[in-house]
Every structure is written in structure tokens, then in C-alpha cells.
């Protein structure tokens, strides 16, 4: 109830309304949801995780394990909010969670009666049975009843912010010690101070962040903090971001995080109305709320007179043997066996410094036997603790725990004293094992109120001191952090940059269906109305095989290689030869890793004596450039070579098909396109529509092909000229899907599809492109390792399946074999002959040509005939045309 005393944080002059479980209630600005509920006499706010016990408000702060509620509705719903830190606003809607059908009549409370089913380690004991009983019986039942609030019903409509800051000193905690430390640190330079509470009085010259929880300290004093910018406002009044993530680099960190009062352990210590003594005082002084009239105080008498002054009848006891009551405490039995009627039990179980942040970077703890708590040991001068956080706390000897039914150690995970004792008897005597077995300290409150009691009990059971038992490791976050704050702006379109080619607008206008290739958007196919993907791809492939097609290949990686030693360098980074390639010519090259596995492949063109342009796989461009730079800088720094990415500077347009030359001859000038003058694997300068272009006779389709490379700025004009000239030839734009079919029919590999880092050049039938006579190149030595010479290495073959098969399907000798010979790397339903075909890597594959294998996917097995990995124009007559 609200009393006249105290209330420093509230504005008694104004009243605001809120709802809890549908009930309309009133509070004051400055209230937390917890203080407003208590002011209205509402103590029962939730049900516990395992036993569905009635639970009330235990604390007045961030350490609250019990009073978890859902705040807001629909997409704005925020589950697991701690009522003790939720600031009240007019119109706030909160709902208890983990109760069904209602908080007062909770079905799961029957589990309390079934307690023996849920002892320590129940995960490992109770749910034994068939796999079916888990999926059909246990899991749905647990999901329905476990203490998990409902997820929001839609995408988060709120915005979040992210900031970086640098400071000489960061003080975490704005209490007396923190403020004094901040003022003292001003002499050294810039000072920032964070405090998780609202309304922190400013200190001149110091950047103060209120409502800001520093939740983690990472290497080199990086502090992550979340500022609740507008959580305290009604949703319709929020104008800025909801929360802001701070990433602060501080030369010095001062931890003034205070201490947490610990609960006492006795049967019924979780009944609503049983709470921390410090919480009752905070509710009185900060919010003018007296939590009860008939108060039993156990532990020590600090604050008793203030409660009395506010109108409470306070009884001090040395020991509580048990608390009684179901939805609210009605009485206790004291150490003498006397029953005392009451409506409130206040626990003063000693104090534990909030050492969590101290521990994040590995800071060690020492047990202070006199104060019965763990105190931080200063590891270095860059992170130090002050005030209560450093162990300056009252010297309370906590009352000894009282065994019995339902004496709770961990309130949030429903771990009892008996569970700790059972775990000890079962041999879980390491603190880390105890934690995992009983789950004590593993709930969202991170054991702020349970670790010390659990460790003390373990030590007691083992006959030692908690200092000898040690603590588990505290890890970030100190309190739960929303995913929204961590993601901030990096969501939706801003997760990753999107790269589009200079011709993207044309593809969009043409109705292309796009696929993502790395960050690139590439047209996958251009459907005509009513056409399926398969139909469109068949049409696009046929156009290339019989007429002429047009592909935007601008995403192709391009690396400009220049310098006196350019050819020497390429000889080292590629497996094949370059030295004698004449300017004006192109060559296919294979790049290996030092382990001899294929890293990339592609054509390179010699533009001049000391100038090459290297083409890489679209998704591999950055990696290949890095690889080349690495060797250039670290292994062969004496070579005079400069590397530059040219991917985005050059647009690439592939004109391919039997009519490619006829089409281009109508728009290309300054070049002789005749086969003798401009053969396959040559390149020439030319111009189209007045713009300079380079033409490369490179074919990835097996047809007569010209790649037209134009400066990205003029690429649309060149593309439009090709498209306009193409009208007379029924020029068909085609996408990556048709490109894949066309190349696979020719047995051309795609890096990452036919390769996976375990495939060497010979495995792919690319031995012809490896010049073993060169003195050295990256990967050469590995090619003669015994493992690379095994006859049963997986080799690239073609498959003719009886029907369409799945990529990734396993290949076996017989339909029911379990011995796997290889897998399908590429598979397409329609080749030029209308039949399905596939590429595969098969153990000793080249020896198996003509054999029958079975492609297995799920329970389906499809008969396949092994053949050469080429399905079209094996002599290559068409591309030389």
C-alpha cells in the first residue's frame, strides 16, 4: 500500500493508469511496474518455471528473478521484462507469463504435487522413453508449461541505434562510490558514467548516461551497454529509437556496480510476500510503498525502524524454519517452533558484491570469510572496483540455510536446497558440474541471488569453505539484452550491402527473376507470362544453342595485374603457363591453394607485355585478390607487380550462339570479326555505339561467344545497342540458370559447386592445365603427395539419370547400399536433348565410365549411367566457329 513516508522517485501529484492481467490499476509517474503493483496490493505476479509455484516480487532492482512479465501487446510485446525495472507509463499493459489458464488457477501448479518427477538433473532422468514419447508427449507438455513468455506476434516495429564512444575513464554505476570515482577521474581526461536507473543527477563536465546498463566487458576494455532511450514512454509517445547500443572503449574502467542482498534459504522462501529486506526499504524510500503491515525480519535488523515509522509491525527473528501460505505468506515458524502470523517476511541474507563485469575479462575472485561473500581481486590498473562492488559491504553473517520441502536456492530455475544436496550425493562436486546438472545460476538472472547460496551449500556438504569450492564463470550479458539493440540498423536491406550491375534497371524492367550470388543480384531467368522457371530455362538454352543469347556477366571478378614481373607472378599463382602467352590472347587458368586443391578458375587475357586482366568466379573475386596479395606481399615481395580490382569498372555482356558474330557485325566497328582474324581465345579492342569496348572470344556455353567488356559508365548504352541490333536476330536474354545448364553440358566446372576445397585439378580432369614442368607454383608440391595420387580419389564424371535427381544426392553401387561412392554436384532436368543430366564426383570415377550407379536421396534411388563429363559437342567445333 502507498504510505505518506518516502517516495523520492515518484510524483504523487499525478496519477496514471495501467493494466495488469486485464485489471485496471493506478500508479504515479516514477513508479516501476513492481512498486505500482505493490502499491495496489498485488503480490502474486507470476508462476515459477518448473513447479508453477506462485511467485511475487523478490527484489527492487535488476537482479529480480521472479517478477517476469510481458509488457506491451502484439509486435511490441516484450516478454521476460523484470517488473522491478519496468518504468510505469500511462496506459502500460502488462501480462503475467507462465500461467495457464490464469495466474490464480494455474494448471501447472499440479506439478508442484508431482515434484519428485523434477529432481536435480531431471532433464537426464525423467524424460526417458522412445524418441516418439519425447516429441509427442514430453516436449509439447514442457513447451506449454515452461516459463517462457510468448514471442512478439510480428516483426519488431521499433527502431534501435548503435554508437561508438571513446573515453579515458568509464564509471559503471552512479551511486555514491561511482560519483566520487567519476569526479576523481576528471583530472585524467574525459569521463563517462552509466547507471541503469533513471533520473541520475548530473555531474558537471561528465557525460552521464542514465537508463543504461553496461552488460559486458570485452577485450581491451570494450564495454557494451544498452541505453533504454524510450522504453519508459508509451509507444505512441516514442519518437526516437527504443534502445541504443553503446560500444565504449575506455582506457580505465571503474566498476561501481554495488552489491546484491542475498535471500535466506528456508522452506517456502519463495511464497509471495517473502522478499529481500533491502527491497522493502527501497520500495518505501523510493516509491512510498509499504510492502506489508505485519512484517517478520530475518537476518538482521537494518531498516526495521524505518518500516516501523511507516506503520509496520516488525518482528525480528533469528531463524525462519518455514514460511506458510499458498498465494501469499500468512505465517512463519521461527527457530523455536513458534508460529507467527504475518503478511510479509523480509530476508537479509548478507551481501554479494556485483562482480559480474569484473569477471568478464577473467578477473579473479577471493572469498571473504568474514563477510561471507566473494570479492574482486584487482587484476590490473585498467579495471578496478570501488564501493560495495569492491567488498565495502555490511558485515552480516547470513542465517544458516534450513532444509525442508521447497527451500529455494535458485528462484528462476526452481532449484532447491534438496537439489544441491542430491547433486552432491550423486558426485557432482565440481562447481561447474553442479551448475550444469542442477541448472542453478543458469536462468536469465545469471545467478545473482543463487550462486552464493548454492556454492555455500556445496562447500558445506563437502566440509570446506566456499573459497575452496570456487565460483562458476560469469559471462556477458549482465542482464538480458534485446536482439533489436544488438542488431540496431543492421536489419532488412541494411544487413549486407546489395551489389547490382550497371544493367540492373534493364533486368528489372524486363521482369527478371533474380538470385543472390554473394552480395550480387543476378538475373536468374527472364520469364515470359505464364512460364515456369523450367520452361523459361529450356527456352533460353535453346535460343543460345540455335540462335543467339545475351547474358549480363558484369559480376565476373576482374583483377588488373601490372608490372615488369606480371607474367612471372601469374606463373607462380596459377598452375598453368603464362610467360609465352602473346598480347591479344586469352588462356584458361587454374589456381590452386598450397594444399593442391582447386581455389579458382577462369580466363586471363594478356593486355600488354606487362599487363594482364585476370577473371575470377563471381563469388570468389575478393578471396582471389586477397590470396594473390598475400603471396605478393609476404613470399615474393621482390616481384614488381601491382594488383587492382577492376570488377566494378568493367561491365561484361556475353553475346553467344551460332548467330553471335552476325549480330555483332551489325554494330561493332574498328575490328575484324572474321574467325581467322579473331579466333577463339583472342581479344580485340573495338567500339560499339561510339564507345570503346574490348571483345573477348571466351565461351562458357560451348557456342560461338563474344564477351563485350565496356566501361561501367557506358555499359547501358552498349547493352541497348546490342539489344536493338538483336531484334532482327530474336536475341534472347538469358540468366544464370540457363548459363549453368549450358556450361554443365560442356562439363565446365563452377567453383564451389564442383569443388569444395577437397578437389584437386586432376580430380576435375584439368590435369592438362597444370604445368608440372614449371619449377614452382602454388600447390605444386601437394599434387604429388601420396594422398593426391590415390586411384580412388573422387573424379568428375557425367551422369545420365533415369529421371531428375537432386544435387547433393549420394551415389551407391546398388539401390540399398550404404557405402557411398560419391555425390551429385550439379543436376539439371533438361539438356539440349530434353533429357536430365548431371555432374558428379565419384571415387575412381573415370574407371567407372559405363557403369550403373544409384543416386540416393531420402528413400528414393534413381538409376544413373556414368559417362564422360561432357554432353554436348565434345570436339568443341561450335565454340571455334
Amino acid at each position: 500500500m502507498r504510505v505518506a513516508q518516502g517516495g523520492a522517485r515518484i510524483d504523487r501529484g499525478r496519477t496514471i493508469g495501467f493494466r495488469f492481467d486485464g485489471r485496471r490499476l493506478h500508479g504515479h509517474p516514477g513508479d516501476t511496474l513492481a512498486s505500482a503493483l505493490l502499491a495496489n496490493g498485488v503480490h502474486l505476479v507470476g508462476r515459477s518455471f518448473k513447479y508453477h509455484r506462485a511467485r511475487g516480487i523478490l527484489t527492487a532492482g535488476a537482479e529480480e528473478p521472479n517478477a517476469l512479465v510481458v509488457v506491451g501487446k502484439g509486435a511490441l510485446a516484450d516478454p521476460h521484462a523484470r517488473a522491478t525495472v519496468v518504468e510505469l507509463y500511462d496506459g502500460l499493459i502488462a501480462q503475467s507469463q507462465n500461467a495457464w489458464p490464469s495466474i490464480r488457477h494455474d494448471f501447472g501448479a499440479l506439478i508442484g504435487a508431482a515434484g519428485p518427477l523434477f529432481p536435480a538433473g531431471f532433464y537426464y532422468k525423467t524424460f526417458l522413453g522412445s524418441a516418439k514419447s519425447w516429441t509427442r508427449v514430453f516436449e509439447p507438455a514442457i513447451r506449454r508449461m515452461a516459463g517462457l513468455g510468448p514471442a512478439p506476434t510480428g516483426p519488431d516495429p521499433e527502431s534501435y541505434d548503435k554508437v561508438h564512444a571513446h573515453t579515458e575513464t568509464l564509471v559503471i554505476g552512479g551511486g555514491v562510490a561511482g560519483r566520487a570515482a567519476a569526479l576523481a577521474a576528471m583530472a585524467d581526461g574525459r569521463v563517462m558514467l552509466t547507471d541503469e536507473r533513471p533520473a541520475i543527477a548530473p555531474l558537471p563536465g561528465i557525460r552521464m548516461l542514465e537508463r543504461t546498463t553496461a552488460f559486458g566487458i570485452y577485450d581491451d576494455n570494450l564495454v557494451m551497454a544498452v541505453e533504454r532511450v524510450s522504453d519508459h514512454l508509451a509507444p505512441e509517445k516514442r519518437t526516437g529509437p527504443r534502445q541504443r547500443l553503446w560500444q565504449v572503449r575506455a582506457r580505465h574502467i571503474v566498476l561501481a556496480t554495488g552489491a546484491h542482498q542475498q535471500p535466506c534459504v528456508f522452506p517456502g522462501n519463495d511464497i509471495p510476500g517473502v522478499m529481500l529486506a533491502s527491497a522493502a526499504l527501497a520500495f518505501l524510500e523510493d516509491y512510498g510503498v509499504l510492502v506489508g503491515r505485519r512484517v517478520v525480519l530475518v537476518g538482521n535488523d537494518a531498516g526495521a525502524e524505518r518500516l516501523q515509522a511507516a506503520g509496520a509491525d516488525v518482528r525480528l527473528v533469528d531463524e525462519v524454519r518455514a514460511a506458510h501460505g499458498r498465494r501469499h505468506v500468512t505465517a512463519i515458524t521461527d527457530g523455536t517452533g513458534q508460529r507467527i502470523a504475518c503478511d510479509t517476511v523480509l530476508m537479509a541474507g548478507g551481501w554479494q558484491p556485483a562482480v559480474h563485469l569484473h569477471s568478464h575479462l577473467g578477473g579473479k575472485l577471493a572469498f571473504d570469510a568474514e563477510k561471507h561473500c566473494f570479492v574482486p581481486i584487482e587484476a590490473n590498473s585498467r579495471i578496478r572496483s570501488v564501493g560495495a562492488a569492491s567488498g565495502h559491504i555490511p558485515r552480516d553473517a547470513p542465517p544458516l540455510p534450513v532444509a525442508g520441502k521447497k527451500a529455494f536456492i535458485d528462484f528462476q530455475n526452481d532449484v532447491t536446497l534438496a537439489d544441491i544436496d542430491l547433486a552432491t550425493r550423486e558426485g557432482f562436486v565440481s562447481v561447474e558440474h553442479l551448475k550444469r546438472y542442477t541448472t542453478t545460476g543458469m536462468a536469465t538472472d545469471q545467478g545473482k541471488l543463487s550462486n552464493l547460496n548454492a556454492l555455500s551449500r556445496l562447500a558445506h556438504n563437502l566440509g570446506g569453505s566456499p573459497g575452496a569450492v570456487g565460483t562458476t564463470t560469469f559471462r556477458p550479458p549482465y542482464t538480458p539484452v534485446t536482439f533489436g539493440a544488438l542488431a540496431a540498423h543492421d536489419r532488412g536491406d541494411f544487413i549486407d550491402p546489395t551489389r547490382v550491375t550497371p544493367l540492373h534497371d534493364w533486368h528489372v524492367a524486363r521482369g527478371a527473376d533474380f538470385e543472390n550470388v554473394g552480395q550480387w543480384k543476378r538475373p536468374r531467368f527472364y520469364p515470359r507470362s505464364g512460364e515456369s522457371m523450367d520452361e523459361a530455362v529450356v527456352r533460353e538454352c535453346r535460343a543460345v544453342r540455335t540462335g543467339v543469347g545475351l547474358l549480363d556477366a558484369s559480376t565476373l571478378g576482374k583483377i588488373d595485374v601490372r608490372g615488369a614481373d606480371a607474367a612471372t607472378f601469374l606463373e607462380l599463382v596459377y598452375a598453368n603457363r603464362w610467360a609465352k602467352l602473346a598480347p591479344g590472347k586469352c588462356r584458361y587458368g587454374v589456381m590452386l591453394g598450397e594444399d593442391g586443391m582447386v581455389l579458382d578458375d577462369g580466363v586471363s587475357a594478356r593486355l600488354g607485355a606487362e599487363h594482364f586482366l585476370t577473371f575470377t568466379t563471381t563469388g570468389n573475386a575478393a578471396r582471389v585478390l586477397d590470396h594473390m596479395e598475400d603471396y605478393l606481399q609476404t613470399e615474393w615481395p621482390h616481384l614488381k607487380v601491382w594488383l587492382q580490382s577492376a570488377t566494378e569498372q568493367w561491365a561484361a555482356m556475353v553475346v553467344t550462339g551460332p548467330q553471335a558474330r552476325d549480330l555483332l557485325s551489325t554494330i561493332v566497328s574498328d575490328v575484324d570479326l572474321a574467325p581467322d582474324a579473331f579466333p577463339h581465345l583472342a581479344w580485340r579492342s573495338a567500339s560499339i555505339a561510339g564507345h570503346p569496348v574490348r571483345l573477348y572470344r571466351i565461351s562458357f556455353t560451348g557456342e560461338l561467344s563474344f564477351e563485350v567488356h565496356a566501361d561501367a559508365r557506358f555499359a547501358p548504352a552498349v547493352w541497348h545497342a546490342i539489344v536493338a541490333a538483336g531484334v532482327a536476330f530474336d536475341l534472347t536474354p538469358y540468366g544464370t540458370e540457363a548459363m549453368h545448364v549450358l556450361r554443365a553440358e560442356k562439363g565446365y566446372i563452377i567453383i564451389g559447386q564442383e569443388t569444395d576445397g577437397t578437389v584437386g585439378p586432376d580430380d576435375l580432369g584439368l590435369g592438362w592445365a597444370v604445368a608440372m614442368t614449371k619449377p614452382d607454383f602454388i600447390g605444386k608440391r601437394s599434387l604429388t603427395r601420396s594422398n593426391m595420387l590415390r586411384a580412388d580419389r573422387r573424379q568428375l564424371v557425367g551422369l545420365r539419370p533415369a529421371e531428375r535427381i537432386a544435387e547433393g544426392a549420394q551415389l551407391t553401387l546398388a539401390p540399398a547400399d550404404t557405402a557411398m561412392l560419391g555425390h551429385v554436384t550439379s543436376s539439371y532436368p533438361n539438356g539440349h536433348d530434353g533429357r536430365p543430366f548431371a555432374l558428379a564426383l565419384v571415387a575412381g570415377g573415370r574407371e567407372r565410365i559405363g557403369q550403373t550407379l544409384f543416386a540416393r536421396f531420402a528413400s528414393h534411388a534413381v538409376r544413373c549411367t556414368v559417362g564422360e563429363p561432357i554432353f554436348y559437342d565434345p570436339q568443341g567445333a561450335r565454340l571455334n566457329g
Binding site: D219, L222, D626, E629, D630, T634, P775
Partner: protein, 80 residues
Amino acid sequence: MLIIPCPHCGPRDQIEFRAGGEGDRARPADPASLTDAQWAEHLFMRRNAKGPLRERWLHAAGCGRWFTLTRDTRDHRWSV
């Protein structure tokens, strides 16, 4: 997140760098003269030291240079 002292740009956030594994492992001058076992040792075996370890780093989002530093793997202390 570490702060890495790039010898060319000064101290920068780890996010700007790419790790290149153990350093001071020059590529053998004549790989062909090595046995399979010696070559495998070069390719695959690393010290994974607890304590000072030479490491290769690339300042990928900075100067683009590779360099080698010593990091104490116990406490991330750097030395050149």
C-alpha cells in the same frame, strides 16, 4: 574485441583486420626437395602456443598490408 597495433596505421579495432594464422613460417625455398612428411608439416602443423605467438595479420579495411606481430595468447599482450 582486440585493439591491434598496425605498424602502418597505429592501433585499430580488430574488426578492420583479418587473421592469417601463425607467422614466421616462410614458404620452403624448394618445395620439391621436401618429403611428403616435411611438406605436410609445413602445410598443416601449427604450434598453437599458450604464451607468446607470432601471428600474421592483414589490415584488410585499412592499409591492406600484411604484417607479423607477437601476441601473448594468455592475455593478448602485443609485442613486435
